[in-house]
């Protein structure tokens, strides 16, 4: 049984068919890349999976259960977390607070217990801090120590991307949806993030779906590549097969005759 399964998803915005008849599977432990020209519907697909948008028709199945109709927080509680293409960190909060908030939904103590600082709450808080550090340590020391207590708005763009990935992991999700994780990073940082994403899977045990434009990153990490164009799935398979597929070349470069 695949971890995530999309069956014949359709989604239109007014007259624009943003997603049409997309079906795909993601197996546990895989890294799947979704590529496609701008406006192909990649981010929309993530928004559909995470419940930000409701599909017009089709089913989204995670661990054998339907996600359709759930609100984004319920989807996250089921085990799917995401990053945003246009960073959506909690800008005025510190890095640490940013990585603690996604763990809030796992808190068992009620608000009164939290205010009274019951021992149970303090233990949970301690645990949350430990997990936050564990997730941030994927990125080496750069978000640790003093950076933990800095507000996000002082971070560099690349560091914000990293913090957002740590935040998604801290939700306790099994499946990570990363929307252009290397956007705004220089080639060295991109190389590094490629290795780190692989470590998310190897060391963290996450299943990962990446939307990316940088082909060397895609080629490096993908077990499988899915190509979208105008909301339709036009190719799927190995990186090498997919990039040599005439339909894909056409989608990116346009038709030869024109």
């Amino acid at each position: 049984m695949p971890l995530l399964e999309l069956r014949n998803i359709y989604k239109a915005f007014g007259g624009l068919q943003a997603i049409s008849n997309v079906s795909l599977n993601v197996n546990e432990g895989e890294i799947v890349s979704i590529i496609g020209p701008n406006g192909a519907g990649k981010s929309t697909l993530f928004n559909l999976i995470t419940g930000v948008y409701k599909p017009d028709s089709g089913d989204i199945i995670f661990e054998g259960k339907k996600l359709n109709g759930l609100t984004p927080d319920q989807v996250t509680k089921r085990g799917v977390a995401r990053t945003f293409q246009n960073l959506r960190l909690f800008t005025h909060l510190t890095v640490l607070e940013n990585i603690l908030i996604p763990q809030h939904h796992r808190l068992k103590t009620g608000w009164l217990g939290a205010v009274l600082r019951l021992p149970k709450y303090l233990r949970e808080e301690e645990e949350m801090r430990k997990i936050a550090l564990e997730k941030l340590s994927f990125f080496g020391p750069r978000l640790m120590s003093f950076r933990l207590h800095q507000p996000v708005y002082v971070l560099s763009y690349a560091n914000r991307r990293r913090a957002e990935m740590a935040r998604a992991m801290a939700t306790g999700a099994k499946l990570l949806l990363l929307d252009e994780p290397s956007a705004g990073m220089n080639p060295k940082e991109t190389k590094e993030i490629t290795q780190i994403i692989r470590r998310f899977r190897d060391e963290g045990g996450y299943t990962i779906v990446v939307v990316e434009h940088k082909m060397n990153l895609v080629g490096d990490i993908s077990d499988r590549v899915i190509v979208l164009d105008y909301g339709e799935k036009i190719a799927e398979g190995d990186y090498k097969d997919v990039v040599n597929d005439p339909k894909v070349i056409e989608a990116y470069l346009g038709r030869k005759e024109e």
Binding site: A81, F84, H92, L93, I101, H104, W111, E124, F146
Partner: protein, 448 residues
């Protein structure tokens, strides 16, 4: 540990100061100012939970305060004060049995019933519960809305609640527009307000620095992201709204018993407006700021009376000059501390010029009859508050405290967010690998 000791010590000092004040002559004005600061501080801190921490504009706070005020009044009112207007009631129960005293005695809690103070605590708690209950009813449906829509809906609910005591069916309980008078007043003394104030501050700061407080602030920062991170919006908004309503009710109860009376004008929309001014002044999202803002507004109102007394025109000119020159100095100071050039903006010369002009006029025409004539400006206090608010909005939009709190760690401790030199070096080569000889070499190998 050090912090706990410091907190206990300063609370003790504050209590001692209050004790001394209340035993001194001629301090009754100051004491009532403090009482008002405590009461309205509670209200401001509770509004701040929604408007500052959750980031939702709610304009119905006066409605919740009013519920608290009326519930406290109804529960505390002695039977003989209540009887005259209740005679119109059809129900015997409401006429005879809506009485906290009777309930307590019925439960065999005579010791509590015999003490006005203990009864007051219970009445306040019930007042909070009533307001919280209405808070859930109002909040659950309307918190789905966003921004302006929510503000309008909360305002509407606030006004509906406020006018409810005047409705014919309810008026028999509440004495309609005449309001309720004769609420036992010793219960609203400075000690009660002080203790409740401390408890409320304690509660809200514990809440703010808990996982729930972080979730609220996450919602304020970015609702979509908070939801994507598993924070249920509906639950957390309603929770914050309800807690806020609870403490608004408590503040309303305290205020009603401070005034010893309550009617539908006691808590009109200007109450919410005043609270909004106070928290914007102090810093949205900061508990310290909410209290500070409240204190400023109340102190200006109480001690700003001299501004509205009649003075000679000469005094007016001199103070006008002082204000202008102060504005000039202030703008220079701000621009200088922000390292803006030029230090004096051309338009600010207007302040300086006007100040000097006024000063010259005042000195040159000192003896003239129109200079010694008495003049009086009503509403100067409001103007002063408005000017303060405008200046804050221009130069420090986040309010005096921003989102920060006064904390012992900030006074005595080290800043955790500032790197040591060693950390700074490490950070520098992490973010710029070219500075790191090791990394550069590895890269050369790769290209070779």
């Amino acid at each position: 540990m050090r912090n706990t000791i410091l907190t206990i010590a300063s609370v003790g000092l504050a209590a001692l100061a209050l004790y001394l004040l209340s035993h001194m002559q001629g301090t009754s004005g100051l004491l009532s100012a403090l009482t008002l600061i405590f009461i309205w501080g509670i209200a401001a801190v509770s509004l701040n939970l929604i408007n500052g921490q959750l980031g939702i504009l709610s304009l119905g706070h006066h409605g919740f305060m009013l519920i608290g005020g009326y519930v406290t009044a109804l529960l505390m009112l002695p039977a003989k004060e209540r009887r005259p207007f209740r005679t119109r009631l059809l129900s015997d129960w409401a006429r005879n049995d809506l009485d906290l005293d009777k309930w307590l005695r019925g439960l065999g809690l005579d010791t509590i019933a015999n003490s006005v103070d203990l009864k007051f605590v219970i009445a306040l708690f019930l007042a909070g519960l009533a307001a919280a209950f209405i808070g859930i009813i109002v909040g659950a449906p309307s918190l789905r809305l966003k921004g302006d829509y929510l503000a309008i809906v909360t305002f509407g609910f606030g006004e509906i609640i406020r006018l409810l005591p005047n409705a014919p069916q309810v008026a028999a309980f509440t004495n309609g527009p005449l309001g309720i008078k004769g609420i036992p007043g010793n219960a609203g003394s400075i000690w009660w307000t002080f203790v409740v104030f401390l408890l409320v501050i304690w509660f809200f700061s514990r809440l703010k620095f808990s996982s729930y407080g972080r979730a609220f602030e996450g919602i304020r920062e970015d609702e979509i992201a908070a939801e994507a991170m598993g924070v249920g919006l509906a639950y957390h908004k309603v929770l914050a709204f309800t807690l806020s309503a609870f403490f608004a009710g408590v503040a309303g109860g305290l205020y009603a018993s401070y005034l010893q009376s309550v009617d539908t004008q006691t808590f009109n929309f200007f109450v919410t407006f005043f609270l909004l001014v106070a928290i914007s002044l102090g810093g949205l999202g900061s508990i310290t700021g909410a209290v500070l803002g409240t204190a400023i507004v109340i102190l200006v109102r109480i001690y700003g009376g001299f501004l509205e007394e009649s003075h000679t025109a000469f005094v007016g000119y001199i103070s006008g000059a002082a204000v202008m020159l102060a504005a000039f100095a202030f703008s220079v100071y701000i621009r200088k501390s922000r390292r803006l050039r030029p230090v004096v903006e051309p338009k600010h010369y207007i302040f300086g010029g006007l100040g000097i002009l006024l000063l010259l006029v005042a000195l040159l025409f000192q003896g003239q009859p129109w200079m010694t004539q008495k003049v009086q400006f009503f509403g100067m206090r409001r103007i002063l508050l408005a000017v303060i608010l405008i200046l804050i909005m221009i130069y420090r939009r986040e309010g005096l405290m921003g989102r920060a709190e006064l904390a012992w760690n900030k006074v005595f401790g080290s800043r955790e967010d500032i790197p040591s030199d060693e950390q700074r070096d490490q950070d520098a080569w992490l973010s710029n690998p070219d500075l790191n000889p090791g990394a550069a070499k590895e890269d050369d190998d790769a290209s070779a």
